[in-house]
């Protein structure tokens, strides 16, 4: 007998495991992995970078140590990115308000109520300082959590020895493009001023590897001089709010000192003032050097302190309000964050996990399989089913066709004890359902020939004729999907296929649903409920105009089939919508994730409408098979689907 060889994990396996672990700890937060070449060092900071949209894990390519991987996982786990994001938004809002009140020229009036007004300068500083301090705080916290002092030790070593560290340029653009107020990009009316910032110096200073006197970059020097005490506090404190507070103060100070003083530059003096700030204070005079002063003016200091307090509190309030509503929707208690109580942040973090977990059980989306008593249309395939090489030598579980699918039960040798006379049992995987769902939303191309009649009232005869003859209307996503169904049905006649859309008003299930909703109830409950319309061989059902209520459709399947070890193929061209639970991406993910425990495997047949379309985010299939827009489906795509079915 051949000796079993132990299989060691490859670095690739380890990397994948750690990525999975990190994503797992991130929970519902969006996280991206960006690995850079070592040659690109200097452009990026190693660590977890939080911006408005997501958390980006930036690390050099190549093999990383276990502790380094853990550090990243911990930095993601303990990050207060959500809170910081609210504070950051409020900072921009506040600065816009302030600028509007003091100097109307600097912000376009259309931007007054916009939260995304272009305060890029303050946000660049906020992001940079916050990420540094937060990474440091989180690394101390993860060393404690994982009970490994080495994590922190290695992290400090890494900061000390590497030259990584990114540089940014803070620029004032010429002026905003007033001809396009809808563009919402509202810049200061200041002329090309650039600050080159080498953030690595600040990072090394924060970690204690650099003295104040060694700092060369004028902006960093100013920051360090003006906020020495604050930075020291933020680096030693384990308080969760400290990095947010410090970053906000520094960003506000920069904005209010440098920005405001530059606001007074008359036009025409642009060239002369370029980068004045970057020069040392001596030898210069005038308001432009305000930021070079080592200390804040008392008035300004007090104002910044008040503003910081106000913005931090309002950001935390916004976060608490949002999460409170989230918790209430899921019948969970909520533990609010209190900036003065550090324990509350940890409790909040745990409570939030419970809320996310409860969400998985609290799915409000509903759906039914609609009755078959409806009009059907004959379908014609755009592919020649006869020429498709269908490998019919084995069934869905790669069991050869001669087999009945029955196998001896595993413990048949214990027959006398079990008193079970069924020695042969059908293998669960061969008796499992194979179900294809086709998106019935308008964007799938419901104007194919059969559909024109159904949607007839919208089209004139001439238009119908045009559609029939126009080649661009053939091979629409729905054609491709129904062709795939034809191919699957030919090979696996037992398989089921449904169009999913909204419920049909004439269906008994819909009437029951309407009756169950009290008067004055949420109309979305029946408008958004999902209906499944069965596709028979060569017969396409009539169905109403629909959105993409994928979550409700999945619930309909869950209620009607056992789904153990089932294979599900979802053909769609875009994201799910009409989710009654709230977020369709999350809702679909939660349903599919609970199915995985039953051994269900899911594939997506993505039928994009045009080349280069964005991939839908709400699909979490194990496999994605993509069709070519406006082309018939190919043998390869069919084969890919069959391969998925066979496992």
């Amino acid at each position: 007998m051949a000796k079993m060889q132990k299989r060691y994990k490859s670095p690739k396996d380890l990397r994948r495991d750690h990525r999975n672990f990190t994503s797992h700890l991130a929970g519902n937060r969006q996280i991206e992995f960006a690995n850079f070449d070592k040659d690109d060092a200097g452009m990026f900071n190693v660590g977890v970078e939080a911006n408005q949209y997501s958390m980006i894990v930036r690390r050099p390519k190549g093999r990383l140590t276990f502790n380094s991987n853990l550090l990243t996982a911990g930095q993601v786990k303990f990050s207060n990115h959500d809170v910081s994001n609210h504070v950051r938004t409020n900072m921009k809002k506040k600065l816009a308000e302030r600028a509007l009140a003091t100097n109307t020229a600097s912000v376009h009036s259309t931007a007054a109520d916009k939260t995304y007004v272009g305060y890029t300068q303050a946000t660049i500083i906020y992001d940079a300082v916050y990420n540094m301090l937060e990474n440091y705080r989180a690394s101390r916290k993860s060393a404690e959590h994982f009970n490994r002092k080495a994590i922190l030790k290695n992290h400090l070593k890494d900061v000390n020895t590497t030259d990584y560290g990114y540089e940014t340029v803070i620029t004032w653009e010429e002026s905003m493009d007033e001809s396009d107020p809808d563009n919402k990009r509202c810049w200061y009316e200041k002329d090309d001023l650039e600050f080159e910032v080498n953030w690595q110096e600040l990072r090394r200073y924060i970690y204690g590897f650099m003295n104040k006197s060694d700092i060369k970059n004028p902006l960093i020097k100013s920051i360090v001089q003006r906020h020495d005490k604050l930075l020291k506090n933020a680096t030693t404190s384990t308080n969760d709010v400290a990095p947010i507070h410090a970053a906000l103060t520094i960003a506000l100070d920069f904005e209010m000192t440098a920005q405001d003083s530059f606001g007074n530059i008359p036009h025409g003096r642009v060239g002369a003032n370029r980068s004045t700030l970057l020069k040392p204070a001596t030898g210069n005079s005038g308001e432009h050097n305000a930021y070079n002063k080592t200390k804040l003016d008392n008035d300004l200091d007090a104002e910044i302190e008040d503003l910081t307090e106000e913005i931090t509190n309002s950001g935390i309030d916004d976060y608490n309000t949002e999460e409170q509503a989230n918790a209430a929707n899921n019948n969970q208690s909520y533990f609010p964050i209190n900036p003065n109580n550090n324990d509350s942040w940890d409790k909040n973090r745990k409570q939030k996990e419970a809320i996310e977990n409860a969400k998985r059980l609290n799915i409000l989306c509903r759906g039914w399989i609609m009755s078959d008593d409806r009009k059907h249309y004959p379908t014609q395939t755009n592919i020649d089913l006869g020429t498709i090489s269908l490998d019919e030598s084995s069934d869905t579980n790669n069991v050869s066709n001669g087999s009945t699918g029955y196998r001896p039960i595993r413990n048949s040798w214990r027959l006398p004890f079990l008193s079970d006379v069924n020695v042969f049992k059908k293998h669960p995987a061969t008796s499992a359902d194979l179900i294809t769902l086709i998106d019935g939303s308008g964007s799938m191309g419901t104007h194919i020939e059969e559909m024109i009649y159904r949607w007839g009232k919208d089209y004139s005869d001439q238009e119908k004729e045009d559609m029939r003859t126009d080649s661009s209307y053939s091979n629409q996503p729905i054609d491709q999907a129904s062709d795939m169904v034809a191919a699957i049905k030919k090979r696996f006649p037992d398989s089921k296929a449904f169009v999913f859309g909204n419920t049909d008003e004439n269906d008994p299930a819909f009437k029951e649903l309407v009756a169950s909703i009290p008067e004055g109830g949420d109309r979305r409950q029946y408008r958004w409920a999902a209906g499944l319309y069965e596709i028979k061989e060569g017969k396409f059902p009539e169905f109403p105009s629909s959105g993409t209520p994928l979550c409700g459709s999945l619930k309909a399947l869950e209620n009607s089939f056992s789904l153990d070890h089932a294979r599900i193929i979802i053909a769609t061209d875009g994201d799910a919508n009409q989710c009654q639970t709230g977020d369709p991406y999350e809702c679909v993910y939660n349903i599919l994730d609970s199915w995985r425990n039953k051994g269900v495997r899911i594939a997506t047949l993505w039928t994009p409408r045009w080349e280069g379309e964005r991939m839908p985010q709400s699909l979490h299939g194990d496999v994605t098979i993509q069709t070519t827009p406006n082309k018939p489906i190919t043998d390869i795509q069919i084969k890919q689907v069959f391969n998925f079915i066979k496992g």
């Binding site: 750690h18 797992h24 700890l25 786990k77 994982f146 009970n147 996310e356 409860a358």
Partner: protein
Amino acid sequence: MSHIKFNPTQERKHVNRFTQEGEDLIKFIGMAKPYPVILMGPAGCGKTQAVEQYIKRNDLPVEHIACHPGLEANDLTGGYSPKVGSEGQALLSWNDGPYTIAAKEGKVMLLDEVTRLNQQHIGKIMSSQDETRLLTNPESGEETIKCHPDFHVIMTANPPAMGYNTVNLDEALKSRAMIYKYIDKPLCDEEATLSDILGGDKEYVKAFINWAEDLRSDASTAISTRDLCYLAKMVGRGFTAMQAIELNYKDKVSMDKRGVVLTGASAHFEN
């Protein structure tokens, strides 16, 4: 790696320790008497332990049924069973099931895993749980039984889906419950219990708790109190933590999450 080392001593006995929420729940169950109580929740979160603690503390008589789809009416409310008569002839005589006994004698009826019970039985016991408190066994020929004032039905169940092969709980049964609580966090004071089991090794307890916290950030890997206690007990019996996790827990989660469990474990424990 020397971040966590544990010298296995003998596995220790532990007493049931509950969190404040668990203690409250035990109190609330008593306050709801004689109206039904339904505790839903994932396996191993301490539902049955809490109910048993309530029964133990109040020293109540109890009938306990673990429900399953194969449960017959005989096993629940009662039925006829063959008996040899005095002259050797076959007789059928009525025997009360545990539910009927509890209703007559005023015991606590603990229906464990009620979402695994067949719908026909649910219908039968329904009217004994509302205000009428009547139980009818027409097959027995008896008149309708008026339930004893102390008769108290307590049910525990796993939610449908999430990998449990259970059915949805009947809405009518839900509406009869005075307490219908979904338990989403462990009722057990895990830190104290693990500390009991591991003989007070604080660092090791902390590693277990932190590891559990990491796993619980996602419902599909959330470890139950029962498994956590098993793991601690296994460590007490001489397994290393990694061995215990490999043997007890790794394969309980879905295939794609096993890497997460193991990576998480190796982050907290020595290989």
